[in-house]
Structure formats: C-alpha cells, structure tokens
C-alpha cells in the first residue's frame, strides 16, 4: 500500500517534471537582429567575413552592395553554387538587417 502511494507520487512528480521540461523556450519578441542572423555567414566566409581561402570575403562591402548581392542570389539573378540555396531561407527584411550588420561591424 505504502509503496503503491510512493510509486504514484513518484510517477506524478515525473509527469510534473516532464510537463515543466517539455515546455519550449520562448524567443525574444520582435524581428531577429542582424547580429543574430549574420552569425551564419562566418561559417564559410570566415571570422568577420575575412575569408581565408577561395570563398569570397564579405567584409568591407557597403550595405547596398551586400543587400543587392543577397537579393540577386535569392532571386537567381546571379550565378551561384550554394548561395542561391542558402539565400532562399531568409526574408528580404532579414537580408536588410544582415547587410546593415556586416557593413557596419565586419571590418
């Protein structure tokens, strides 16, 4: 009897624990800032866009240069191997934020 109660209590606490843990994190409100979105770019283009090998560097470009390049990749107006595939994963507004971030802070 006692062990049954204990078992039930244990099961209940497990369930409660599970319910608490199963809740997903809530992201910050508002549009995702360029500093967050641009974190992806350095994976291929190097730290702060200083590519160390054959992939084109993206530091030292103007906001307009970056934005038009990203939009051209997205809309298949510029030849590409993989950038056209990546670029279709972002909104135009996100590209504007990325272009602002990189032109301002990646030197």
């Amino acid at each position: 009897m006692r062990s049954a109660i204990l078992t039930a209590a244990f099961a209940a606490s497990l369930l409660a624990g599970f319910a608490a843990q199963a809740q997903q994190a809530t992201p910050a409100a508002g549009p995702i800032p360029g500093s967050v979105l641009a974190a992806t770019c350095s994976g291929c283009h190097g730290p702060k866009g200083h590519s160390v090998a054959e992939i084109p560097p993206i530091n030292g470009r103007t906001e307009q240069q970056l934005l038009s390049a990203l939009l051209d990749f997205k809309n298949d107006r510029r030849p590409a191997t993989v950038m056209n595939r990546h670029a279709k994963g972002f909104s135009d507004e996100e590209f504007a934020a990325i272009a602002r971030e990189i032109s301002a802070n990646w030197r």
């Binding site: 997903q24 995702i32 967050v36 994976g43 190097g46 595939r85 972002f90």
Partner: protein, 433 residues
C-alpha cells in the same frame, strides 16, 4: 588595413583588461557567471569562443583531454593521401591566449546536476552555472557482433579523427594492387551522413591512380543515402566498374565481423573477405552525455540527447545544453558545419539567459560538402528554423547541387574549391582566430 590594425589593438586591449580582471577575480570579485564546456570539437570549441565574444564578463572553462584536435571533416582526404594529418590538426592556443578560455586538460567523467558540478578523471570538481556538453559520438562496440576496440585495430572505423585515420591510410598504402577494399556502412542516424560515400569516392580516386586493378565493395545497412544520385553519377563518370554498392535490400547489412580473417558477415550469412576492411559502425552520443542521463534511454532515438530547438538546453536536465553530434537537432544532420552553427547560437542563448533576457530565435545553417575527387565537389545545404514542431528546414530553400548544371566540370570544380574554402574559414573561426 589601418582600420583592421586599430580594431585589433582595441580588441586585444579589452581582452587583456578582461583577463586581468578575471585573474583578480579568483581571489576577489568572481566573474558574473561560469560556463563549463565539455569537448573541444566543432561544437564545443565554437561555443567556448563565442560565449566569451558575446559577454567577456562570463568565465569559460573548456574540459578537453587533448591538446590538439584532429577533425573528422577532411580526414577522408588524409586516408586517400592528398592531405596530411598536420593540415587537419588544430590546437587551443587562440581559444586560451586570445579569448581567455581556461583549458582544463582532463576528461569529464561525471556530471552532478544537483550541485552543478563536473568531476574530471584527474579528480577535479568544477562548478558551473551553465554547462555545454559537446562530446561528439562514441562507437557502439558490440552492436556488430565481434566489433570491439581490439577488432578496430585490425578493421579500423576511422570515424574519429587521429590514430584510426592513419591506421586506415597505412592499410591502403600496404595493400597490393588488385585487392578489395570492403566497407560496412551504418543505419541512420550517424555522424556525417554523406561521409561514407565521400570516403568510397576518394579511396576510389587513390586506387584508380595508384592501384588500378583494385575494387571497392560497400555493404550498406540502408537502401538510400545522402546526395545519392550525385554520388552515383560521379562514380559512373570517374570510376566506372570500380565501386560496388550493396544496399540493405540486397543483403548489405553487416551483423558480424571476424577480425582475424578480415571478414564481414551479412544478415543472411554471406561472408565477404577483403584486403582492407573499414567498418563505419553504429554510434551514439559520447559517454559523458549518456552517463549523465542526457540521452533518451529507449525508443527510436535511444542514445541521443533531446534538446530545446531554440536554446539547445537539454529537455531532460536543466542548465545543461547539448550540441553537435550528440544532440537530436531535428532536421539538422550530425555534421561539423551544423555543430559550428549550433555553437554560435547556444553561446547567444546562454549569454542572454545569464544576463536575464530571452534569446532571439536562431536561424541555423548547414552545408555538407563532399569531394568525389580532388577537383570534383558536391554539396547539400539547408537553412533551419526553430518551430513548435522542432528544428525544421526552411521550405523552398536549400537542397543539393544540380545534377546537370550548364557547365558541369566548372560547377564541380568550383564546389571542390569551396569545400576547401569552407574548411579553412570554419577551422579558423573555431580554433584559429
């Protein structure tokens, strides 16, 4: 140029000030928080560095027994003989020297979530506010009958970079022309989905150029694989008749090895003896993650660690984040690229939490490049977002290289170039800058 120099000087100055502060902090004012990172691979080393970049007020300790890390990406090229192991070996000097990460050269053997402490093999107890667990994979010894650590000295897996990589290389070099190289390939999920097929390709390149009468027999526990049409097109074009791939439905699954006889035994009892045998065995999350209770105990994802899609915090234990191959990251593959992407966003999530604010929704990315020959590259890429259903690939984006591009030779050449470019940039971002 001048601008670069100036900003670098300012940056170094700030870091010096920070490290001076944290040196004092040992005696007087402690850092705002302490993050411990277990594992110095693509995930862990990225997280350690980027937490320091996000907030230099957070102290970071990396627990990693090795002083140098040999990457699994590009190890196929060492096996095939067109890269040297030194070119894929990286150290932690930039992480400790430039970024002020404390490197504890010891192995994490236990995690106590109640006291928020990591115990090391050397007997240290290290307290954390947040813990990042990035241990990579372990081999499931015995999942294939007879495949033990001793057997792997004869039939290498070479699925963790280092001594195993060199062992397989030496065996290929010693093999006489006309020999058969057999590979046993695992069911999903496993580290680096296209990795086995890249390995088949570049070994074929080595054989074709140095031992042209040799063959490759690939025995697979699956009926389909990553970038399959692109791989098979390439094999037909580059290595006609050299590679035989046997899928699951043709009795490809290997269930037993006889190491002393260099023999693989299939599910239905076929025996395959070969001059060189490479077993890519079933895998699960690194031992520390499983021992700590971070992995699912049963079900289809047993042995891998469930996480929150936004923060990569374990859904099983609070304040512990699991990234890289050990985690169940929804649609993201177990790849070095994915672990690097996760490392950057987990750093943002942890820095945000330690500063009392929510993290922004991450946008993860992956590109898996594979070489079929030194000048022939292909890729699969995706962008991922966290949704209530977990991490999903963005519809309409991503995908594989075109099968028939306008100028195929030029396209494959460019992707081979970008394969090397990705590796240089990523490893510099993680270990080098």
């Amino acid at each position: 140029m001048t601008r670069t120099k100036l900003s670098r000087r300012t940056f170094t100055g700030a870091l010096l000030a920070t490290s001076a502060l944290s040196a004092c902090a040992v005696q007087t004012a402690p850092a705002k928080a302490h993050v411990v990172v277990i594992g110095g691979g693509f995930g862990g080393a990225t997280a350690a560095k980027f937490i320091r970049l996000e907030d230099p007020g957070i102290a970071v300790t990396l627990i990693e027994p090795k002083s140098e890390f040999v990457t699994c990406p590009f190890s196929n090229y060492v096996i095939a003989g067109f890269k040297q192991i030194g070119e894929i070996t990286h150290n932690y000097n930039a992480l400790t020297g430039t970024h002020g990460v404390r490197h504890v050269r010891d192995i994490a053997v236990a995690i106590d979530p109640a006291t928020k402490t990591v115990r090391t093999g050397g007997g240290q107890s290290i307290r954390y506010d947040k813990l990042v667990v990035s241990p990579g994979i372990d081999i499931r010894w015995g999942a294939i009958e007879g495949y033990t650590e001793a057997a792997a000295e004869i039939l290498p897996h070479a699925w963790q970079g280092g001594a195993q990589t060199l062992l397989l290389r030496r065996q290929l070099e010693a093999m006489p022309d006309g020999g058969v190289v057999a590979l046993a390939l695992p069911p999903n999920p496993y580290r680096c989905p296209p990795g086995p097929y890249e390995r088949i390709s570049v070994i074929a390149h080595y054989l074709k150029t140095t031992k042209p009468r040799s063959k490759i027999l690939a025995l697979d526990a699956k009926d389909a694989f990553s970038k399959q049409p692109l791989f098979q097109d390439g094999w037909n074009a580059l290595y006609p008749g050299l590679i035989e791939w046997v899928p699951l439905n043709k009795d490809g699954r290997i269930t037993q090895v006889i190491a002393g006889e260099k023999t693989l035994v299939s599910e239905f009892g076929q025996r395959h003896r070969a001059a060189v045998v490479n077993v890519v065995p079933p895998q699960f999350a690194g031992k520390i993650a499983r021992d700590a209770g971070l992995a699912n105990p049963d079900g289809g994802s047993a042995g891998w660690c469930p996480v929150d899609p936004i923060t990569f915090e374990s859904t099983r234990i609070k304040d512990i984040h699991v990234i890289g191959d050990a985690s169940i990251a929804g649609a993201m593959p177990k790849s070095g690229f994915a672990a690097n992407s996760q490392g950057k966003f987990v750093a943002k999530a942890i820095a945000a939490a330690l500063n009392g604010r929510p993290a922004f929704a991450p946008v993860y990315a992956n590109t898996c490049y594979s070489l079929l020959a030194p000048d022939y590259g292909i890729s699969v890429a995706d962008i991922y977002r966290a949704t209530p259903q977990g991490i999903v690939a963005v519809q309409g984006a991503g995908g594989v290289s075109p099968r028939t591009p306008a100028d195929a030779a030029q396209f494959r050449h460019l992707e081979a170039t970008y394969t090397r470019g990705w590796y240089s940039s990523a490893t510099r971002e993680i270990w080098g800058a």
